[in-house]
Symmetry: C2
Amino acid sequence: ESVVPPCGACKFLRRKCSGGCIFAPYFGTDQGAASFAAVHKVFGASNVSKLLSSISTNHRHEAAATIFYEAQARLSDPVYGCVSTIIALQQ
Amino acid sequence: ESVVPPCGACKFLRRKCSGGCIFAPYFGTDQGAASFAAVHKVFGASNVSKLLSSISTNHRHEAAATIFYEAQARLSDPVYGCVSTIIALQQ
């Protein structure tokens, strides 16, 4: 077995990162842990894992990006999240 | 002790609904269970409970509404969620 650094998600979750890790392609080793912390706090690792699994591989990058966007928005604006952007754009 | 029907969230979670239930004001007995099912699937009960607790009482209605909006959007569009609305409005 070769030792591979865990992806950002597994680093954050302090677990082993397997070859087939669903998070690895979207949460890199370096900055991925910080991104995943936000996603984890808002959605939870299990929900994001289920969501990504339900999406075809070629759309998972976009899904991970929009999930991260929503998570960041909710952390900076707990009441409105990214809905504040929608309201602002509609006006 | 009087028997009170559980709120929609507790009905969905099949648990007792206490007087201080954090979900009760935002997930009514009748349609609340369906709304909460969406919120639960996307965010998870525990994350939503923590989020609502962190917000002052007078802003929780808006928070519950935007969380429900995001959850619905993510279930109908798993890849983009409500970010699809933001992208459409920006164009």
